[in-house]
């Protein structure tokens, strides 16, 4: 019974995939991280304008999907917003930009900075009240990311935590949800991409960016390479990628798209080299 089900199910998948992967040689498919996708979509638009017979399809679904799709050939290029793991060494990475992760608080929160130990204590639930950190006498609302997000992995790695040790009050999906959650709650603490946070703060959102390990959370510091929690935004391919994929990656790493990288509040990969 199980075998029949599996056969039927996989047939259905095969049919549906065959339907949409009949690509001509001039079609490029990129899938993966929702942090990288908006930038790549902009780069793709410009690349298409320069090469009128090329069609580029950008889909999101997270870094893990980027890795999987690139490996299985479902996408020509995977978008991954972290360094590759040891188990992913079969893929080639090409960094197109850098992004930092920073902690954010509501603008009205009197707390101006937190040490690494304080942040660990807050996230593991050892400190539960803002008054222990020099703030108001109210409980801390800890905002954490959902399992599998690269922002979460980077955050845990930097603070030496395991996700099961984190004692969160709210778990969020993407950066926008995190920003809206902290904006609506003066007692919240969360972490998001510096790019997204800086953009929102500049446009009047009631949030503030905390320094990490004494380093101010600014794009400049990410660019200088001194900001402690930074991650590369990568395009990954297998060993035998298509010539078109190679051309696109080269273009995405070139100076021609530097302005697009800046517009999205990331740091160009060649900025500090």
């Amino acid at each position: 019974m199980k075998r029949i089900c599996t056969v039927i199910a996989s047939l259905m998948i095969a049919i549906s995939l065959a339907g949409c992967s009949q690509s001509s040689s001039e079609k490029l498919v990129l899938t993966g991280s929702s942090t990288v996708a908006p930038l790549v979509a902009e780069i793709a638009k410009r690349f298409e304008a320069l090469n009128p017979d090329v069609r580029i399809d950008v889909q999101t679904g997270g870094s893990s999907r980027g890795v999987n799709d690139a490996r299985k050939g479902l996408a020509d290029v995977g978008m991954v917003s972290r360094g590759l793991k040891v188990s992913e060494a079969d893929l080639r990475t090409n960094t197109i930009a850098w992004d930092g992760i920073t902690l954010i608080l509501h603008k009205d929160n009197p707390v101006q900075s937190l040490s690494k130990n304080h942040i660990v204590d807050v996230y593991t639930g050892k400190i539960k009240n803002w008054k222990d950190l020099g703030g108001v006498d109210s409980p801390i609302v800890v905002v954490n990311k959902a399992e599998g997000r690269s922002t979460l992995e980077l955050f845990l790695k930097h603070f030496g935590l395991k996700n099961s040790e984190v004692n969160a009050d709210i778990i969020i999906g993407d950066n926008q949800q995190g920003l809206k959650t902290v904006e609506g709650n003066p007692l919240a603490i969360g972490y998001v991409s510096i790019g997204a946070a800086a953009y929102e703060a500049e446009n009047g959102a009631s949030i503030k960016l905390l320094p990490v390990d004494g380093v101010q959370a600014t794009l400049k510091n990410v660019e200088l390479g001194v900001f402690p929690i930074a991650r590369p935004l990568n395009l990954v391919t297998t060993e035998n990628s298509t010539p078109l994929a190679k051309r696109f990656i080269e273009y995405a790493q070139s100076q021609d798209v530097g302005d697009l990288v800046q517009e999205q509040f990331f740091i160009a990969a060649n900025a500090n080299k």
Partner: protein, 280 residues
């Protein structure tokens, strides 16, 4: 009565295709769930120490509890309220208001669920957090879902009222019954099975709602011990983690889907059996 052969066979085929698709969906989810059951055993779903997919723990009980509490909570709020509003709309409101009112309900039932979720995230959650932090909670989920389900409850109840035999109402008027006793003694008892099955179907809808719940419930994996604590539903779990999942994690999410599927089937069956009894 003559029926067109082509028409009836087309309709037949359509019906069977629908059944077939449903069957295949079931098969697909079972097939996707099996690897986890084979590797860890079905009991890991309630014996594991928690839901930590990256560490190999797949306890889904807290999320099952979250889903049930929020769906039934919402229906418990929206059900009685919906019946009252339907009574008002049909028997108490002036004619012009009743039609405006009905149109409004139809309009409200068509508003996409993210809109309600977004309202919940920026208005409701901050408000709740002023007296019971963190704000994102079971209560917020129940309120948002109840608001979403309410127009549909009103519409189904109203349809049920409409089916009250006209001659009963005329007879009631002839006996000079008051408006309220007419509703209480005739309309409500007659409509009760339809109301019950309609509300049951709405429970299925509430159980399946994803985005709005994801935005306001806080998504912490725990059995909530009060209305003000956050919780995560099975649907929110799938939406939050599916795109980032690998290996057994994917299978575990399909198990969440399978559980939802089975619960919805159960609810529809309960709803249908109540309705069938009425006409038996």
């Amino acid at each position: 009565m003559r029926t067109s052969k082509t028409l009836s066979s087309t309709l037949n085929a359509g019906a069977w295709i629908t059944v077939g698709i449903l069957f295949l969906i079931g098969c697909f989810m079972v097939a996707k769930s099996l690897p986890l059951f084979e590797a860890m055993g079905v009991s890991s779903l309630w014996n594991d120490s928690g839901w930590h997919p990256s560490e190999g723990d797949f306890n889904v009980l807290p999320m099952l509890a979250g889903s049930l509490v929020i769906a039934f909570g919402a229906v418990l709020v929206a059900g009685p309220l919906g019946v009252m509003l339907a009574i008002f709309g049909r028997y108490y409101a002036p004619k012009w208001l009743a039609s405006v009112y009905r149109g409004l309900m139809e309009l409200l039932s068509g508003v996409p669920s993210v809109v309600y979720g977004f309202w919940g995230l920026i208005v409701l959650v901050p408000w709740i957090s002023t007296f019971a932090p963190p704000g994102a909670s079971v209560l917020a989920g129940i309120i948002v879902l109840a608001i979403m389900v309410l127009p549909l409850v009103v519409l189904t109840v109203d349809t049920a009222f409409e089916q009250t035999p006209q001659k009963w109402l005329v007879a009631a008027d002839a006996l000079a019954l008051q408006r309220w006793s007419k509703i209480w003694r005739i309309v409500l008892p007659h409509s009760l099975p339809s109301i019950f099955s309609g509300v049951t179907l709405q429970t299925g809808r509430a159980l399946g709602e994803t985005m709005a719940v994801l935005m306001v419930c806080g998504n912490i994996v725990q059995v909530p011990s009060s209305l003000f604590e956050p919780t995560r539903t099975l649907t929110a779990n799938i939406a939050l983690e599916m795109s980032y999942a690998t290996d057994f994690h994917v299978n575990a999410l399909f198990v969440s889907g399978l559980i939802l599927f089975l619960m919805t089937v159960l609810i529809v069956m309960v709803g249908a059996s109540v309705k069938r009894k009425q006409y038996a």
